[in-house]
Point group: D2
Chain length 343, copies 4
C-alpha cells in the first residue's frame, strides 16, 4: 500500500486515452501542434483571464525556468525554509538562474509570514552590489507541510512583494489539491490574489509527465521562458503528448476531481489520527498529505505490514503519508484499521 | 503527405502499448523503478558490452548533458559545421557546459575528415589559458546530410581524437537509421569503433519522447550526468514511461525494423531522383533523409500538391525529404509519381 | 579619523616602492615575468612547505576561483552565517561555481563549531541527486567578528571536513592579523592545521591591490584555477605589479609588522572599551577589528566629532571599528579620549 | 629589444606618479572614492557627450562585462574571425554571458565588411529558439591586423547593426593608437560613428593595469555592468589606483601622446620593410603593430640578434612587431639596421 508519494502513482486512464487520441497522424514539431496551440485559450478560460502557457515535462523545469526568466543572476529568491526549490531540486534553480541566491525564511505550517517576508526584504540588500538583490517571492501551494494558503494569505504576501518590486511565483505542484481544498476558483487561488506566474502541476495529480507554466499579465517574460525551455532541452519535438495531457486534465475539471479524491483520503486518515490515543497530526491536513507523529516502533510495525511511506528527515517519529488520485477507500481503510489495531 | 521531419510522425503503436503496460500500480519515482532498472542490462546485451544508460526525454538534453559531463567549461568541442549541436539546439550545449566552445570543421557529405580534425586539434590551443582546450569530438550518425559514417571512418576519427586526449561523442538521433543502413552490429557502429558515449535516439524513430545516453567504459562520467540530469530538470518523477519506451524499442529489434522502413522509403525516393531528368541528389542517401536539388518552381508545385518538406536554409532549390517509420509505400509512391509527372 | 575599513587605508610606502622598482624595462606578460616566477619559492619558504601560488587582484576573485576549482556546480559550501563569501561578494562564489550552494551555520564569535559542522554535513545530502552535495568548508581568518581561530580549532574543523571528504578553504583576507595575534607560524595557522587552500590577503593589510591563492598539497587544482583566472578576466597582462606587491609584503615579514600595528591599535581600543562604564565589547578583540556596543546617541556624537565607522546592519548600537597599518597611536588616542569624555 | 607586445612594456612614469599621488590618506572603498568619482565627468568632456564610465583592471573583464550586460545568454555576438574575444580570452566572453555564441566573419585587413555582416545577421536566426539570436556586433580598434577602421567604416557597420536591432561594441584595447592614426576626435571614432559601448584600453598604452568601459546613451546597461563587475571579482576595494591611472592618461592627452610615439615607431618599421627587397608588409600599418613577411631563416637570425617578436600562429614567415610608448627611436633604428644588413 503506497503512501510514499503521489509521484509513485500511475497515470489516470483518461490521460492515457488522451495520449492514444493524440497519436494519430503527423503533427508539427516543437510545440507548434494542434494540442499545444489550444493551451493558451483553454487555460485562459479556466483561469478567467488571458494568460500564456508554456508546456513542460517536469516541475523542476517549470520552477527553474520561471525563476530564471524573472530573476537576474544577482537576484535573490525568497522562499520558505522547506521549499522544494531549496531542498529537493539538486540546485536546479541555481543552475538555470546562473547562481541567484535562495533566501529562506521560517514560517508556521510551511507558510511564509507576510510580515517576516517584508522585514527580510527591507533588511537585505542595503549594501548595493555587495549584496544580492531581492527579486522574487516563491510560495508552494499546497505547502510542503500539506497545508494550503488561503487567498487572503497569498494576497498579503503578494502585497508585501509587489510593494517592494518583487514578483510572485507559485510552485503549484499540488495546486489542484489546494484549490480543491479551498473550494475557490483557480483565478482566486492565483492571479486574483497576486500570483504572477504559476507552475501548474499535473504529474503528481495523475498525468504521466506534464506541467505548465502559466503567466499572468507578464507577456514580456515569455521570450526568456521559450529560450530557456529550448536551451534546457525541454522543448520536446513531440510536445503534443504533453499538451494533450494538460488538456485532458482540464477537460470536465478532471484535475479537480482527481485532487478531490486524494484530499478526501487524506482527510479520512487525518480524522483517524486525531482520534488516535498515541498518534497526532504535525500540521493541519489541508490537501493530500498527512504528517503523523507516532512512536518509531509503531511506524516500523506499519511498514512491516506493507504500508509504504517516508520518514521526515531528522525526525524518526514523523511519517509523511501521501494520498493520490489512485488511493482508494480500501487503501486508507486498511491503513486506518492497522493504526487502530492494538499492538 | 509529410516529409518534413521524422519528428512529426506519431509514435509507433508498440510504444503506446508499452506505456499502457507500464501504467499499472505504483512505482518508485525518479528512475528507481522496475523499467529503468533494466536499462543497463538490456542495452549491455544489445551492445555486447557492459555499458551504463541514462534515460532522458530529449536529444538536446542527451547531447548537452553528455558534453557537459566530459568537457570543462574552458574546453572545446570539435564538430562538423552542420552539426545539430551547433545549429539547432539554441545554445543548449553552451548552457550545460557553461560556455565551452564549439569549433566547427568542414567536411564532405556532412562528415568530419580525420586528417582535418587532427590538424585542427594540433593547431589549436597553443597559447595555453588564452585559448580554449580541445576536449571532445562529436559526430552525428546518421549525419545531417543523410549520410552514414562507416565503422572505419568512425575509427579513424576516434583514433585522431584519442591520440590527442579527446573523448568521442556520437549524436545518434538517427543511429538506428545508420545501423540499419550499414548492416553492422550496434557494437561495431559505436564502442568497437571508438565511441565513448552515444546519444541513442528513439523519438525520431517512433517513440513519443525517449532518448538514452549510453556510456562505454567511462563509469566515472555517470555522477556528473546524473547530477546534471537533475539540475537540468530532466529526472522525471515517473521515468518508467520513458524507460518503458526504450525497452519496447529494443525488444525484438523494433528500433531496427522501424529504421529499415524509413530507410527503404528514402532509398525509393533516391532511386526516382537519380533517374529524374531535372532533379539530382545533393548527397548520397544512406539513411532516411533525401536531399534533392530541383528548380524552385517545381518544388513549389509539389508543395501545392500537398507534399510537405523543408527547403534547406539559403538554398531555394534544395529540398529535404525525411522518411520515418510511418512513411508508407503509398506515400513515397505518390511523391515519386508527382515528381515524374510532366509539368 | 577613519575606522571604517582597512580597505580605505592607502598603500604602505614599501609597496609603492616595490611597484616603482618593478617598473623597469620589458617583462613577459600574463604572469610569466620575473616577479611572478618567484612566488612559489618565496611562499613555500614562508609556509615551510612546497606550495603553489596564484597571484590575483582581489579577495573576491581569490575566494571564488578557489571555491569553483574544488566544488562541483552541484556541491555545497559550508560556512559561517556571517561569512564574507555569503554576505558581501554579491554572489561571486555562485557566479564562479555556476550555482553551487552556500550552506550557512551559526557559531559563537563568528567561528564554526566542529560538531555542528559535522552534524550539518552528516544530515545533508541524504537524498542523492535531489540534494546538493557538501564539498568544502570555508572559514574566515580572522573572522568577521574580529576573532581568530586557534590552530586546534582549525584542526578540529579540518578533521571533521576531511573525514567526510570535504576540502578546507580559508578566507584569509585578514590572515596576517590572525597570525600576528596568535603568534604562531603561517604554517601552523594554515596547512599544518588542515587548510588545503588559503586566500592570502594583502590589500587590507597595506597593498594597493594584491592577493594570493596558496595551494597546499593539491597541485591538481591548479589548472582549474589558472583557467578560471583567465576566464574571469583576472590574468593581468602586467602581473608583475601584483606579484611585486606580494613579494614586498613577505620581505622582512612586512606583512606581520603591518598587521601587528593594526592589532595593537585595536587592542588599545578594546582596553578602553572594557573599562568604559557604558560601552562593551561584543566579541573578543583578536585581530584588528573592534565591535563596540554603545548607545546610538553616543555613537552619533562620535561621528559628529569626525570619527568614521560602520554601524552593524540591524544593530543601531553596534559599531565596527577597524584599525589598519595606517592607524596611528594618535588616531586611537583621540578616539579613546572622545570615548572617555563625559557627554 | 622587445617587439613582442605592448603588454610587455612597463608603465609610463606619469602613471606611476599618479599612483603615488593617489596614495595619500584614506579613501572610500569600492569605487566611491574621489578619483573614481571624477571619471564620468572627465570622460564626458573628452568624448564631448555625457557618458558613463566603469573602471576595470583588465581588457578581458571590460569586454566580457560589456558583452554580458547587453547580450542574453541565447544571443549571438558577431565579430571578425581574428577578434581577441574569439581567440585570446580563454572563453571569458562565454563565461560572463553564460554561453552566448560568437559568430565569426571573415574580412580583409582584419575588418568586418558591413555587407557581409548584414547578410550574416539576416540569414541567421531564421529558426526561432532553435537558433541563437544575433544581439551585438563587436569590432576591434585598432584591429588585430594593425589596421584602423575609418569613421565611415564604423558608421556603415553600426548602421547595419542598428537597423537590425543589434548593439555595437568596440574593443578599444588599442583605441588610442587608432585615434592617433586617424587624427579624428575620440567622439568621431566612437559614438558619433555609432559605437554604443567602448572598452577603452590604457594598459597596452602605458598604464600598469587600467581599462574603462565607456557607455554612450545606454544608462540602462549600467546596473548589469556594476553587478557583473562585483560578481566577477573586479570591484577593487582600492579602486582609486585604477581610476587615478585613467585620469592621468587623459590629462593633457597623455594617452594620445603615448600612442603617437608607438605609431611613429611602427611607421618607421613599415617604411623600412616596404623598401626591403625580401620583406613585405602583410597588412597596412595603421597603428602600432607591424606584420612582416620574411623568410623564416631571416626571422630566426633577427631573433638570435636579440630582437624579440611573435610568429603568427600557423605562418612561420609572418612576424608581428609591436611598438609601444616605450619603444625608442634607437630601438627601431637597430631593428631597421639589422633588417637591412646583408645576410
Amino acid at each position: 500500500m503506497n503512501f510514499k508519494s503521489d509521484n509513485e502513482a500511475p497515470a489516470h486512464p483518461r490521460l492515457i486515452e488522451a495520449i492514444v487520441a493524440a497519436n494519430s497522424g503527423f503533427a508539427t514539431a516543437y510545440s507548434d501542434d494542434h494540442w499545444s496551440g489550444q493551451l493558451d485559450a483553454v487555460f485562459s478560460e479556466h483561469f478567467e483571464t488571458a494568460c500564456q502557457v508554456v508546456p513542460l515535462a517536469t516541475g523542476t523545469a517549470a520552477n527553474s525556468i520561471a525563476l530564471a526568466s524573472i530573476v537576474p543572476e544577482w537576484g535573490a529568491i525568497l522562499c520558505h525554509r522547506q521549499a522544494h526549490i531549496e531542498n529537493d531540486e539538486g540546485g536546479a534553480p541555481e543552475f538555470y538562474t546562473h547562481g541567484a541566491k535562495l533566501l529562506t525564511l521560517d514560517g508556521d505550517n510551511g507558510k511564509l509570514c507576510p510580515q517576516r517576508l517584508a522585514d527580510a526584504i527591507d533588511s537585505s540588500g542595503s549594501h548595493g552590489v555587495h549584496n544580492v538583490k531581492p527579486a522574487l517571492v516563491s510560495i508552494t501551494q499546497a505547502t510542503e507541510c500539506g497545508t494550503s494558503y488561503r487567498p487572503d494569505e497569498i494576497g498579503a504576501i503578494a502585497e508585501a512583494a509587489h510593494a517592494r518590486g518583487l514578483a510572485v511565483h507559485m510552485d503549484g505542484a499540488r495546486f489542484a489539491n489546494a484549490v480543491s481544498f479551498l473550494g475557490v476558483s483557480p483565478a482566486k487561488a492565483s492571479w486574483q490574489s497576486g500570483v504572477d506566474v504559476l507552475s501548474w502541476g499535473a504529474t503528481k495529480n495523475g498525468a504521466l509527465t506534464a506541467e505548465a507554466l502559466v503567466i499572468f499579465g507578464h507577456p514580456e517574460w515569455l521570450e526568456g521562458m521559450h529560450r530557456r525551455r529550448k536551451r534546457g532541452g525541454h522543448l520536446l519535438s513531440k510536445m503534443r503528448y504533453v499538451s494533450a495531457q494538460l488538456l485532458a486534465m482540464l477537460a470536465d475539471d478532471l484535475w479537480l476531481e482527481l485532487a478531490a479524491n486524494a484530499n478526501r483520503q487524506a482527510a479520512r486518515l487525518a480524522q483517524a489520527i486525531e482520534r488516535h490515543p498515541e498518534a497526532r497530526l504535525e500540521w493541519p491536513v489541508e490537501a493530500n498529505e498527512v504528517f503523523m507523529r507516532l512512536a518509531p516502533e509503531r511506524l516500523a510495525e506499519l511498514r512491516q505490514q506493507g504500508f509504504e511511506f517516508h520518514i521526515w528527515p531528522g525526525h524518526e517519529d514523523l511519517a509523511r503519508l501521501v494520498c493520490s488520485f489512485a488511493t482508494s477507500d480500501q487503501d486508507t481503510g486498511q491503513l486506518i484499521d492497522a493504526l487502530q489495531r492494538p499492538t
